[in-house]
């Protein structure tokens, strides 16, 4: 669309904008809006962005495309009245405890209330306080703060392709919630925190772990060690009025020391280690042609997604723990002992851009002698909170540098924070390893047509080639996985990151309102890579030392025990059973999984067959048959449980024999 349009008596050319709101913002009018989000579909629900057009009357600017000759007024007495009424209605049912609200100062509702000078609310409250959901390790949901803009709903379904949240009920009772009003911890939420980023209020917030960190810092018996992820350094400054993408590593380290951390390390070091391990693993699989494509595993949101939705791919996931867990394991397993300490004496804090890592750190397998390898994960935003609470004037800090040995990284480790970084690190390591020569330049990734957020590169090796793809956002990953299955695309290595652009826009990062900040953070990361004197992990002396002292070589048994892990299928919704044959005096109990994987593998046929067998043998009053959701063995379904014994891969043909053996024999 081209042409001109008049906004508040100013003429403006139309330049391919999708909607009036974008154009109006270009006219330097900050039009109020709740449900408009720069990367989501138009929704047009909140009506805050309403404007008056000469001929059309009142229109929602966020969902109206600009047309030549439109004459728009953004502020008239009627518009002002309408917006105030909308705000007052929202405020009437809102929990207005701004002073103790996490989002205070960064909340759209608060900002607009101030802007419109609302000092009196004409409507009464007609709902009671609803419970907050604090069970998830990653985020907190407070329905009393929700303005029903639907940003989180569209974010989770459009960007992540999951759809954890949706509108439920209607009229005055309408709410946004997970299925059946369950907790986020009981459904298929992967904890990426992208919905936090999209939420204009404090209805979705980061699950804070600050208190446990303060407690450890004041405990004289604890050595408190902190590590910071690559993407934190390009965003922390934004919390202190710095520019997006500006690298604040020096000030960040200085602030951490002022907070009282005893040792300050760089997760980039651990990323070098990850690159070593993951490359060894990959080259092994590549030579053998096994479990390909290999999927990266440093994004815990993606890992949890695969566990919920793609049990068939779990063998293809790299077994590498994410970098901060690798460092945590080294610290608790080896470093503690060398220092004459027990794992319990050390308190490891990870500062991450990520909310999913909070969940990851609580996985029961990531412990040493009963002590978690990482004791607390705090987000970039939480670190900023701690710095402010202590009154540290961030901008005036003198640069400081990381401690050794775990504070030195190659450029490869530094770029883990944006999409393409992990693969680039692996390519550098692999080429070095295969050719014995330092890779001089990086391979450029090019977009794959028809697959948004997917880039690829082809690395020649010997007379073959390694085909590598990177993908960010889980919605895009879902599409890529489907294309891998049909054979439309094919790769040897696939890097997946859940957040748009990678960790730089993780759920724990400072809030951003446009795509520009994201771009600048990625630029910042690339800049940090160039600043490093060495580019490949193999050249990192401290990495060599870690292998010499503790880990032997990449992929060794001890490296495996310390740095790798395994995966399990996870059910999507915690739920009940569907009774199929309900015996009055049950003696044998049979449960058949009808979760997605088992359903696709024909578990319905299994139920039909079992019901027929029960009937034929006249056992309807003795055998209980139920359909259940996901026994968490999805990669080997259909799963059946008979009196507590789990059977995998049960086919209809095998059933009569199983039934005879496990049911009939037990009853006579």
């Amino acid at each position: 669309m081209s042409g001109t349009i008049t906004i508040d008596q100013k003429q403006l050319p139309i330049n391919g904008e999708d909607n009036l709101l974008e154009l109006i913002r270009k006219a330097s009018v900050d039009l109020p809006a709740f449900c408009y989000h720069f990367e989501l579909s138009d929704f047009g629900a909140c009506r805050m962005c309403i404007v008056e057009e000469e001929k059309m009357g009142f229109i929602a600017s966020c969902s109206t495309p600009p047309a030549d000759g439109m004459v728009i007024r953004t502020t008239t007495p009627r518009l002002q009245r309408m917006r105030r009424t909308i705000l007052e209605l929202l405020l009437a049912d809102h929990d207005r405890d701004c002073t103790i609200c996490e989002r205070s100062g960064q909340c759209r509702l608060q900002e607009l209330t101030l802007r419109f000078g609302i000092d009196n609310i004409r409507f009464g409250k007609d709902i009671e306080a609803l419970p907050r959901d604090e069970l998830s390790a990653s985020l907190v949901r407070d329905p009393n703060k929700c303005v029903l803009c639907g940003n989180c709903v569209r974010n989770c379904s459009e960007i992540q392709g999951i759809g954890v949240l949706d509108f439920a009920y209607r009229g005055a009772r309408v709410r946004v919630m997970p299925a059946f009003g369950k907790s986020l911890a009981e459904v298929e939420c992967v904890g990426c925190g992208q919905c936090i980023q999209a939420c204009p209020t404090a209805a979705l917030t980061i699950k804070f772990e600050i208190d446990s960190v303060w407690a450890a810092l004041s405990d004289p018996h604890k050595r408190v060690i902190v590590q910071t992820a690559p993407a934190v350094r390009v965003a922390l400054g934004e919390e202190f009025a710095g520019k997006a993408g500006a690298i604040s590593t020096g000030k960040m380290v200085a602030a951490l020391r002022r907070l009282g951390f005893h040792e300050v390390y760089d997760t980039c070091f651990a990323a070098d280690l990850t690159a070593m391990e993951e490359t060894a693993e990959f080259l092994h699989r590549f030579e053998k042609g096994e479990n390909l494509p290999q999927f990266t595993s440093c994004c815990p949101a993606w890992v949890k997604y695969a566990e919920h939705f793609h049990s068939e791919l779990l063998d293809q996931l790299s077994t590498c723990r994410s970098p901060h867990q690798m460092l945590g394991a080294l610290l608790k397993k080896f470093y503690a002992r060398e220092q004459g300490l027990s794992p319990q004496d050390i308190f490891v804090v990870s500062v991450m851009p990520c909310t999913a890592k909070k969940f990851e750190a609580k996985r029961p397998e990531f412990t040493t002698e009963g002590s978690p390898d990482v004791d607390a994960v705090i987000s970039t935003h939480e670190l900023a909170r701690m710095i402010r609470e202590m009154g540290i004037v961030f901008e005036e800090l003198e640069d400081d540098s990381y401690d050794l040995p775990f504070g030195f990284a190659s450029g490869a480790g530094t770029i883990f924070g944006y999409s393409g970084g992990v693969s680039t690190a692996v390519i550098r390591t692999a080429i070095y390893k295969l050719s014995g020569k330092r890779p001089a330049v990086d391979f450029a990734f090019t977009p794959v047509e028809g697959f948004p957020n997917v880039n690829e590169t082809i690395v020649p090796v010997g007379d073959g080639a390694i085909r590598i793809a990177t993908v960010h956002t889980l919605g895009a990953a879902k599409k890529l996985i489907a294309a891998l299955r049909t054979g439309e695309l094919s790769y040897h290595l696939v890097e997946v990151m859940a957040c748009p652009g990678g960790c730089i826009s993780g759920g724990g990062q400072p809030l951003i309102s446009d795509a520009q900040a994201r771009h600048e953070r990625a630029q910042g990361m690339r800049g940090a890579d160039k600043l490093q004197q060495i580019r490949a992990p193999q050249d990192n002396l401290f990495i060599k030392e870690v292998y010499q002292r503790w880990l032997e070589q990449p992929g060794s048994d001890v490296a495996h025990r310390t740095l790798h892990t395994g995966y399990t299928s996870r059910r999507r919704v915690f739920g009940q059973f569907i009774p199929v044959v309900a015996a009055e005096r049950p003696v044998v109990d049979i449960k058949v999984c009808v979760g997605t994987s088992c359903h696709l593998r024909g578990s319905y046929g299994v139920i039909q067959e079992l019901a027929a067998l029960i009937e034929k043998q006249q056992l309807t009053d003795r055998v209980n048959l139920e359909a259940t959701f996901c026994l968490e063995q999805c990669d080997r379904g259909p799963s059946v449980v008979i009196d507590g014994h789990l059977l995998e891969g049960v086919s209809e043909e095998r059933l009569p024999a199983i039934f005879e053996e496990m049911v009939v024999k037990n009853l006579v």
């Binding site: 954890v164 509108f167 209607r170 997970p178 299925a179 569907i578 199929v580 959701f629």
Partner: protein, 175 residues
């Protein structure tokens, strides 16, 4: 499983197999481009008489939708119930015509007899659920009571309680 629980769930559980097979038929009938989630939910509710949580998850699984979306649709329409209903659904019309003819005194009488209150309108043995609707289009017969599709017109509070009592007794004998 305790006996108490068994009795509670037995009326709906007895048909488990037929219901579950029918559920799969309903989903199978509604495949392809013009499948309608609402139509599926309607048909399934007819089968189960309400929409159990697990069944909604199953439908979401089969249709490749997110459970939250299916839950959203099921809670949006007043016609869907997510609470189990009793074996007998006793519906009292409270449309204008029936209201004028004091339909609510019929409602109150049943509440008193069976100890039902707002928010607990199903008897503990899952035999009856009491509900109101707006005008069922039989205004000439006002006040109107409907039990599992059967209409009773010009009903008095006493007559209504007597009918419900009779059903309750018959059920006891069969048990």
């Amino acid at each position: 499983m305790s006996t108490e629980q068994q009795i509670q769930v037995s009326p709906s559980r007895r048909n488990g197999q037929r219901q579950f097979f029918r559920l799969n038929e309903i989903i199978a009938e509604q495949t392809g481009a013009n499948r309608s989630l609402i139509a599926i939910l309607q048909a399934v509710q007819e089968e189960y008489r309400y929409l159990p949580e697990e069944v909604l998850t199953y439908i979401a699984t089969a249709l490749d939708l997110s459970p939250a979306t299916v839950f959203g649709v099921a809670t949006f329409f007043a016609q869907f119930s997510l609470e189990p209903k009793g074996h007998y659904l006793v519906t009292i019309c409270d449309g204008t015509a029936c209201h004028v003819k004091r339909s609510m005194s019929v409602y109150d009488a049943i509440c008193r007899k069976y100890d039902l209150t707002e928010g607990r309108l199903t008897t503990p043995d899952m035999l009856f659920t009491l509900e109101t609707v707006a005008c069922v289009g039989a205004c000439g017969l006002a006040p109107v009571m409907i039990i599992n599709g059967k209409t009773y017109g010009q009903i008095s509070p006493e007559a209504a309680v007597a009918i419900v009592d009779k059903l309750a007794n018959r059920e006891e004998k069969e048990e």
